[in-house]
């Protein structure tokens, strides 16, 4: 490795915001053709460092060398010129435009004052073929899958001539299959001499793709390790600064009476097409049922139907013997339903409102929080202070807007709110999305705790690890139906993957038990 040339060398980078050092004397060196992971918890300073490298921020002190030459990267344009390009986590694409239009946006090549779309399309097609990106340049962005949108983002960076690509949490929105494709693409990029910096907090991904990994903790670089020679456990310990357990510590479940029963449920999506197509499912007291499935197989519609946010076309949802389909959200909540929503920003929280107001978002109208329509600030404050303490929500003050909290603490606030109402049935949808190892550990243990208290928990997640670790039964959802129910101890990710892709349980079993397809992990 040492003979390879170094393309990026960041020396002693310090970035200070007031008193706070987001980056404190960080060193990072990236070699040509390598995939270099940048690992750290949320808030560790990864993005700050990459913003420095891509010219969005200027460092307080420190030097950057690109291809051995000292560089002053004072603007994103400068970074572009130096061949540094960022593939953003949140795609910066115009939905109404075609892939080609999106890619040339801002660097349109013109012929006699007219955009030469044909030449651009050809060039993009060539790029796409060369790196195996399989992007249709003339497709409109709104019509293509999330995975293809991401590949369009990659193309955009390549089209601008980048040699060093920064991937910011690229797998957050992808399915397992799309992740595999992405990894192949990354390898084909490095084969062509490109270098990749991968920002992530997912350890298994680092193990799978990265050559080396630099760990950042609280703004300082902890060290750079050779990934092959390091275990996931060691990486996790370096990142968090203490020993971390991956396995959720739980006793076997003791399921009791049925709490939730869904019968032949049909729900339409926003386009008025059936998204949930005659689904049947039961969740019992004292068990966690995990719903595994690729995004877009009706999971969101199912959750929204249960919680009263989306009309049910036909079928029944029975919560503790009471039919709740097509009831108002408040009525469903009052009959003993807790809901950790999929999207905590869009749905779960009113971000500009204070922590305490968010804590009583569903209960504000009840005593003691209000009486005759007048809010009782004191009761609200006492209750929120109690929950914040009990659920370890870290905030300077319960009067601060909830937007000022980190993602993990926002999620803890939601969990505190939902769990403390003591619902007999709890939905946790993508409860750990975007969170770091420490917070994930905490949230999983809280879910299991609910189960042990005899509550019924429905966990919906795209993270197979999470499903495998937390659930007592796994229901695989495909095209609006449950296509199989398996026990985590009797299955593996590969079998789940096949089920999620639509094959039957028998077929999946047969495929994974053949000698060549066994036990990948």
């Amino acid at each position: 490795m040492s003979q390879r040339e170094t393309v990026i060398e960041m020396r002693g980078i310090t970035k200070q915001f007031g008193d706070f050092k987001a980056n404190d004397n960080i060193n990072l060196s990236v070699q040509k053709g390598e995939i270099h992971a940048l690992l750290g918890e949320n808030g560790a300073g990864k993005s700050t460092l990459m913003n420095v490298l891509s010219g969005i921020l200027e460092p307080t002190s420190g030097e950057i060398y690109v291809n051995g030459k000292k560089a002053e990267i004072d603007s994103p344009n400068k970074a572009n010129q130096l061949g540094i390009g960022m593939v953003h986590q949140h795609f910066m694409l115009v939905d109404d435009f075609t892939v080609t239009e999106n890619i040339i946006l801002g660097s349109e090549k013109t012929k006699a004052g007219v955009i030469d779309a044909k030449a651009a399309r050809k060039e993009i097609q060539e790029l796409s073929d060369r790196y195996g990106l399989m992007v249709d340049p003339s497709a409109r962005v709104e019509d293509i899958s999330v995975g293809m949108q991401q590949r369009a983002e990659i193309l955009k960076v390549l089209y601008r001539g980048a040699d060093i690509l920064i991937f910011d949490e690229p797998t957050a929105v992808l399915t397992p299959q799309e992740i595999d494709e992405l990894i192949n693409i990354m390898h084909s990029l490095t084969k062509e001499g490109k270098s990749i910096i991968l920002i992530t907090h997912k350890l298994d991904e680092i193990k799978r793709v990265a050559d080396r990994c630099t760990v950042i903790r609280r703004g300082k670089s902890i060290g750079t390790v050779n990934v092959e020679a390091t275990s996931q456990q060691e990486l996790a310990n370096m990142m968090v600064g203490r020993a971390v357990t991956f396995k959720v510590d739980k006793k076997p479940a003791t399921p009791k009476e049925t709490i939730l029963s869904i019968q032949d449920l049909v729900v339409k999506d926003n386009r008025k097409l059936d998204a949930v197509k005659g689904l049947n499912l039961e969740v019992k007291a004292g068990e966690v049922v995990g719903i595994a499935g690729i995004d877009g197989n009706g999971q969101s519609e199912l959750i929204e139907a249960i919680s009263g946010l989306r009309p049910v076309e036909s079928g029944k949802i029975i919560l503790e013997g009471k039919e709740i389909q097509n009831k108002k959200p408040r009525e469903i909540t009052e009959s003993g339903f807790g809901h950790i929503p999929e999207d905590r920003h869009r749905v779960g929280l009113v971000l500009p409102m204070s922590v305490k107001e968010n804590i009583v978002l569903q209960t504000y109208y009840q005593e003691p929080f209000s009486k005759n329509g007048i809010l009782n600030d004191k009761a609200i404050e006492e209750y929120s202070a109690k929950l914040v303490e009990e659920f370890d929500v870290r905030t300077q003050s319960i009067a601060n807007p909830v937007a000022s909290l980190s993602g993990g603490n926002q999620q803890k606030a939601i969990i505190a709110r939902e769990v403390d109402r003591d619902p007999s049935f709890l939905i946790a949808a993508q409860p750990t999305r975007g969170l770091d190892v420490g917070a994930i550990e905490y949230i999983h243990s809280r879910l299991v705790e609910q189960r042990d208290k005899g509550r019924a928990v429905l966990l919906v997640s795209f993270e197979l690890d999470e499903i495998m670790n937390v659930s007592d039964r796994i229901a695989v959802m495909y095209e609006g139906k449950i296509v199989g129910i398996v026990r985590p101890e009797e299955t593996n990710e590969e079998e789940l993957g096949l089920l999620m892709a639509g094959s039957s349980l028998e077929k999946a079993r047969a495929a994974t038990q053949s000698p060549d397809g066994k036990e990948k992990r």
Binding site: K15, F20, G40, L309, P352, A403
Partner: protein, 385 residues
Amino acid sequence: MDNNKRKTLNNLTVPLLSVLLGFLIAGFLMLAFGQNPLDGYRALFNGSFGSPFYIGETLRQTAPLIMTALGFAVANIAGFFNIGIAGQALLGWICSVWFALSFPDLPGFLLLPLSMLAGVAAGALWAGIAGFLRAYFGTSEVIVTIMLNYVALDGGNYLIRNVITDSRDASERIPEAANLRMEWLTELTQNSTLHSGIFIALIMAVIMWVLLRKTTLGFEIRSVGMNPNAAKYAGMSAERTIIISMLLSGALAGMGGAMEGLGNFRNIFVQGAVPSLGFDGLAVALLGLSNPFGIVLASLLFGALKIGGTSMPLATGIPIEIVDIIIALIIFFVGANYVIRFFIDRRSRQTAGPAEGHAADQASGTTETLTGTGEKSSSEDEVNH
């Protein structure tokens, strides 16, 4: 808590700086036209606060502004852009006068409050139409209220000419029992047109503050305004909240109009356009950051500018238009600051240490903050619907 104080201070900087910059630039303009800005501003001040009479006039101008601004703010906090405040105020004016003229024999303790109420009801109903359409059919309240402004104007003029009067351009004066003016106020302010509306306006500002901050209804209005999805998820009825907030908005505007009818003009006459009171209220709410107390202060400033401005040409020869320029500049800077801060916020959020890494937080965070504090996003949303 410290954080909160800093935030309040930050919030105050924008309007204060805007006012200061507005005066400063208008001062340069006066200089450019060969006038002494100090003389100009002295005349402006004397003409608005220089004597009990001028103070009375300024306060009289302030009262209905507080009402229309409160009206705009309530809708804004719920996430709606009620640009029809002017039409609602006009209807409030017409209906309060109409009622007073129709029942001249009622005793004063009934006639005045009932006339007032007629104006309030008319304004509420007018805004309620837009609220209802919005809640149940998703119709843009911006377009509906703009159009309703025209209906109010032309329909109102028809009423004045054909129903309230016998094809005349102005109604009779309202009976004395419906008069908002009070002798002691008139005497105290040396025969100014000041009426008791200012007290009503101040009380309404306090009530609105309590309503928004301390009641479950206010909690719902703020939640729906800042994040309708979360409000729905939490079991609040978006439809109900939309309609209630629009009714409130129109009621406040109608009350502002009724003050003009029962206190200031004491009659109604054919209008050439919807009263500027409505649009000034919008500007006041913007400057006052939709906060009832901020609105009181901003209304006082606007009231003083409008009244003091009339003295400026007499005392110094500076044209009254300079006052409109000052107002325009203040609004411009409030607006511009808003844009600048939007970008500063976004940038610091993207790059600031502790919040770093929550890329998702930033993305939705900023837009939602916007919906909460400003009207821009909501109006844009509407257009898209």
